[in-house]
């Protein structure tokens, strides 16, 4: 009995529940003769699409800022980078790298100021972050309407002013990473470039965590008073964590969009933080502790759940059941994390 209890505590309720549910769905899928290779292909693509956005949670949690509900800030920066790339008609890897090159410095600046803001109010980061994210997304709606872009692919077809709600990437960076070194194996299409890029980002974050700066940032996030006593400038470390998180958010949305095929402007980024937060929590992270493995496991479980649930439930029941399940799972897991006894104040 003790062994069983230890197993549960080690794996964690979120993984067990989601994993069990996923297992049931997979068995159902097999019984319903839903083509498994297609599901696996979709899961792999989704992991690559969403992985970097989930990874963006890591620096913020480690710096002691908690779950980064202001991820939309980074997302908006990424969208700007991608738009500039399209405006100048850049395609392929050139377009992708220019998008990164434009987005990353903007994200760093935005992250710096947001980090400064958070330092003035320790203790309510997640709530304020949520509404700063919301208000910036709404403010950017005005910007999208007024921005002086001229490329016919970007502006409204009729009227000729203001950016479209959804921008096609077909002639620019669509599937650049997905197709790189892509191959088919036993009916499964593997988006090698996409997965490699995700792995590369994980490696970079992991290496940073092992570096001197990374260790210092972790110390500042773990115990503020001890870090201060040791001579660490806690405020600076928190800003660093927020900047890194925002940059990863910007990179993540560009990767997401090239895989998805479209840029989504206006209100689309509003709730972009929620799936990422849910995924990292499903992977076993808490609001104070996180590892790269939590990102990978959580992204896999969450995205696999979404992929398999859709065809299974559409076969068994009518309507939009899978969207409802996503809402319940996503917010339920966040609720669980917020109500866990983790010690210390952080909201």
């Amino acid at each position: 009995m003790d062994g069983f209890k230890n197993f549960i505590e080690k794996v964690g309720y979120p993984r067990l529940i989601i994993g069990g549910f996923l297992l049931v769905l997979c068995i159902s899928a097999a019984m319903l003769s839903i083509p498994i290779p297609g599901l696996i292909s979709d899961i792999l693509i989704r992991i690559g699409m969403n992985g970097i956005l989930v990874l963006a949670m890591v620096p913020a949690i480690q710096a002691g800022v908690g779950l980064n509900f202001a991820l939309p800030l980074g997302v908006v920066c990424g969208l700007i980078g991608a738009l500039i790339s399209i405006e100048y008609k850049l395609a392929g890897f050139t377009g992708l790298f220019v998008a990164f090159a434009v987005a990353i410095p903007i994200a760093a600046i935005v992250g710096y100021f947001y980090g400064q803001m958070l330092n003035k109010m320790k203790g309510q980061e997640m709530t304020v972050g949520t509404y700063v994210g919301f208000s910036v997304v709404s403010g950017m709606c005005i910007f999208w309407l007024l921005a002086p872009f001229k490329s016919p692919e970007l502006i409204w077809a009729v009227g000729g002013s203001g950016l479209r709600v959804t921008v096609s990437l077909e002639s620019s960076i669509d599937k650049v990473l997905n197709r790189f070194l892509s191959f088919r194996f036993a009916g499964i299409q593997v988006p090698t470039g996409l997965l490699l890029f995700f792995a590369l980002c994980c490696l970079i974050v992991w290496l940073f965590n092992k570096s001197k700066n990374g260790v210092i940032m972790n110390a500042a996030g773990s115990n503020e008073r001890f870090a201060s006593a040791t001579g660490i400038n806690v405020n600076r470390q928190r800003i660093l964590g927020v900047i890194l998180s925002t940059i990863l958010g910007a990179v993540g949305i560009i990767v997401f969009s090239q895989s998805f095929g479209f840029l989504q402007l206006y209100n689309a980024p509003l709730f972009s933080a929620m799936p990422a937060v849910a995924a990292v929590l499903i992977g076993g992270a808490s609001i104070r502790k996180v590892k790269i493995s939590h990102v990978v496991i959580g992204t896999f479980l969450f995205q696999a759940l979404l992929v398999v649930a859709l065809p299974v439930l559409n076969t068994l029941a009518d309507g939009s059941m899978s969207e409802v399940i996503r809402a319940i799972v996503q917010n339920g897991i966040i609720l669980y994390a917020l109500t866990r006894k983790t010690g210390g104040d952080l909201a």
């Binding site: 509900f69 109010m121 997640m126 304020v128 509404y131 709606c141 005005i142 309507g319």
Partner: protein, 363 residues
């Protein structure tokens, strides 16, 4: 020194001035915004006044429902969304059973109350496990509950849950329709007594009296033993515990009251509108009510009826004038629309930031 020992703070003159500035900065900014917007919009004064009165009547009850948790130290209760859901469930029940008129509205109040009490109890239990993180938790709880709500009304309604009125159910036989006409109870409360002091102006007196009565009732409640205990819990949980107050129980009661008031407020709101958007009417309730309260000058730890009413006035004034102001200013009414949404979110972020800043400065 024991951190809980209260030391009388001798404030410098500058500090007093700064405190005042913090308290009034948000309302003042909004008065200016409304003034500018009003001039730019070119709307007729009678039209604006009438619209504002209507919105004050239908939205104030919801905003006031936020005050009790603030006083009890639980911050802004974004979880009033669950109360709004209870109100909507009651209205669906009333429509399904063809109850109409004022009786229908009263039945809706009766049906929603036990639902809201149950929901409020659950919210209270969850928030007691998330002390210090109440606001983010109640917000996520609202989203979670929305998922469950959709599960019930998209999947179970028409199948497991039987409905008498066929036209409420989608043609597939499962799920409630997106839009429900509340014509049977539409403005039943508003129409009991309307004063029309001039052309184009109609004031729903009963609804306004109900709101006045609510303010009065809460004032008396806060003077009862339970009300005083809530104030104590809100000021310092530890001292309250030492004094023998059951902190967790008091907090749960505060949330239950807030949720019940939100349910009733949603019924008042929807009977005025006349149409229930099954899957959308409750979603923005928390956001708009919180924004209104903060615009009136309230904070995470302090709120009054005056602030609730002033905030509702200013917030909805901005809603009324901003599309036309955007049109006249920049040739695009959509900019006005986006601006007011930006303001709704921004004011919450800003007010929370100012509050945390101010609190930090006092340490």
């Amino acid at each position: 020194m024991d951190q809980n020992v209260k030391v009388v703070e001798v404030k410098t003159k500058r500090q007093i001035t700064v405190d005042y500035m913090y308290r009034f900065i948000v309302p003042v900014v909004f008065v200016v915004l409304c003034g500018i917007g009003y001039n730019l919009s070119g709307l007729q004064s009678t039209f604006v006044l009438n619209e504002v009165i209507i919105r004050l009547a239908r939205n104030s009850f919801l905003v006031i429902s936020l005050i009790i948790p603030v006083i009890a130290g639980m911050g802004l209760n974004f979880g009033i969304v669950l109360g709004a859901m209870a109100g909507q469930i009651a209205l669906i029940f009333v429509t399904d059973n063809s109850f109409g008129g004022l009786g229908g509205v009263l039945i809706a109040f009766l049906v929603s109350t036990p639902l809201a009490i149950i929901f409020g109890y659950l919210v209270g239990q969850v928030l007691n496990r998330a002390k210090g993180k109440e606001m983010i938790t109640s917000m996520i709880l609202g989203y979670f509950a929305n998922g469950v709500y959709q599960l019930v009304f998209l999947m179970l309604a028409g199948t497991i849950i039987p409905f008498k009125t066929e036209k409420l159910i989608l043609s597939t036989g499962m799920g409630v329709r997106n839009s429900i006409d509340l014509i049977a109870v539409r403005q039943s409360l508003d129409n009991i007594w309307k004063i029309r002091p001039m052309q184009g102006l109609a004031i729903p007196m009963v609804t306004i009296i109900v709101i006045g009565f609510l303010c009065l009732a809460l004032t008396f409640f806060l003077r009862t033993k339970l009300g005083q205990e809530m104030r104590t819990v809100g000021q310092n949980m530890h001292i309250a515990e030492v004094s023998g107050i059951n902190v967790d129980k008091t907090r749960i009661i505060a949330i239950i009251i807030s949720t019940v008031l939100a349910a009733w407020g949603q019924i008042i709101f929807l009977q005025n509108i006349g149409t229930l958007n099954t899957y959308g009417s409750h979603e923005q309730v928390g956001l708009f009510a919180v924004a209104s309260l903060l615009i009136g000058g309230a904070s995470v730890t302090k709120a009054t009826y005056g602030q609730a009413l002033l905030g509702t006035f200013l917030f909805h004034m901005l809603f009324i004038i901003s599309p036309m102001a955007g049109q006249n200013l920049m040739g695009d009414s959509q900019i006005g629309e986006f601006f007011r949404v930006f303001v709704a979110y921004g004011v919450i972020g800003l007010a929370l930031l100012l509050h945390a800043w101010q609190r930090k400065g006092k340490k």
